[in-house]
Symmetry: C2
């Protein structure tokens, strides 16, 4: 059913440790072997690495695992195909331009009875429900906001609007999602999504899927704030928080700045 991985940080940070854990689930410790992808933002630009091969066996994944690319916003996905065959065009994350920024999206789950979702100017290239949902969301964002929201308050309000779109998609099945414009990182949960913010004092962490341990104290400065989001926890013994059905969160520079009012 796929797994998601995301990162929001206040300093350019590499994701090699978490990515090393995730990719094992693509064919070794988990069944998500139908392709994988990762997007790193650097300023307004981004780099994408994708492969329809299993992440645990991919030469490109090995490069990403070993070559630290530092970024403040990252989305990654390992796929277990349901809608749409195993092919590059069906491999997440998906990226489209809106308001002169690149928007990147990845989805874990499956939707049904979604033929009523009208597509506007963003047209899917592949055959997944995921890409179609992304195109539908972008079109709705653009209709509601013909120009880019101009300040932080307007951006927060815009993301709250996106959360209502996600509520509608959750009515069609399982919709866990990550969405970013390279600055903000939004999460939406239907059933499986966890998050963790690491800040000083940093400590050690141990991966679940690989015999790898890291001492974050040696890798960070006291001011670093790094939030990691994953479908299932990637490490032992860290205080991962499980999101609730219908919960949305908005992260900026590693900090949670908005969330569903769950009271």
């Amino acid at each position: 059913m796929c797994e998601l991985l995301g990162m929001s940080a206040n300093v350019p940070t590499d994701i090699c440790f978490s990515f090393t854990g995730l990719i094992q689930r693509g064919g070794r410790t988990g069944p998500h072997k139908d392709g994988w992808g990762i997007v790193f933002y650097e300023g307004k630009g981004l780099r994408t690495f994708k492969d329809p091969k299993p992440s645990s066996q991919s030469r490109i994944a090995k490069l990403v695992q070993e070559y630290p690319i530092k970024s403040c916003s990252v989305i990654s996905h390992i796929r277990q195909a349901n809608r749409g065959g195993i092919a590059l065009e069906n491999t997440h994350p998906f990226t489209r331009e809106l308001w002169g920024r690149y928007w990147t999206f990845a989805h874990n789950g499956q939707l049904s009875d979604y033929s009523h979702l009208t597509i506007g100017r963003h047209i899917p290239v592949g055959e997944t429900d995921s890409e179609l949902a992304f195109c539908w969301i972008l079109d709705a964002m653009e209709r509601q906001y013909p120009t880019k929201p101009q300040d932080a308050s307007a951006m927060s309000e815009m993301f709250e609007y996106v959360a209502t779109l996600c509520d509608e998609l959750r009515g069609l099945g399982v919709f866990n999602m990550l969405l970013t414009d390279g600055e903000y990182l939004m999460t939406y949960c239907t059933n499986n999504l966890h998050w963790l913010t690491r800040r000083a004092p940093f400590g050690p962490a141990r991966l679940i899927d690989e015999d790898v341990e890291i001492d974050f104290q040696k890798e960070t400065t006291p001011n670093d704030v790094v939030t990691v989001i994953a479908t299932q926890p990637l490490t032992h013994d860290e205080p991962w928080q499980k999101m609730q059905p219908g919960e949305f969160n908005l992260f900026l520079l590693g900090e949670r700045i908005a969330a569903t009012d769950l009271t």
Copy 2:
């Protein structure tokens, strides 16, 4: 001033040999050290590798050089920055969706006095004249053809229309371009662009920029047709053809199927 590299083939073919030659010009045998990128199509999907670092020193370029990714349509670019700083968002090739297909573009040259080029729904993310020209072209294509041209004849006519757009851009400076939707590969020349079609009987080739030789006879079948396009020839002793100012060519599965009438 940048260099372009393109390939159109009738069977999935790797471009490691040509790419090895090109990347030397990004900081070793040539000055185009302000970033590089390459896009490989596989069916409707594509893979992009980009780095704002010089191609001759890039770990990611090294992977691409050594890891054969087979494709029927490839565009690559090594950059010497003029408009827009050295940054990932200013690194070619650029990719956007139109008509449910990914379109990829790279430009060699420099435009001036282009503020009159009106942008529609495709908005540049970076600051280059190149990306702006691409957005302008896409908008014009979409206005002229609100839906995807439906057959080969209509597609050829559409590319001839794109050539008239390129003529207009050539009036603003140097505009050498590669454009592909993963099937068709279009070239447009202002001053520097060369092409070469390899077909049976295949023979050896020797790079200009690196001491590498290949015997294509051992790498191909008798039915293979592979066209390579490059700003400057990449090999010694092969019959590279120099394009003329204002010349456009259209390649499909390695064969040239349309061209400017230069008579």
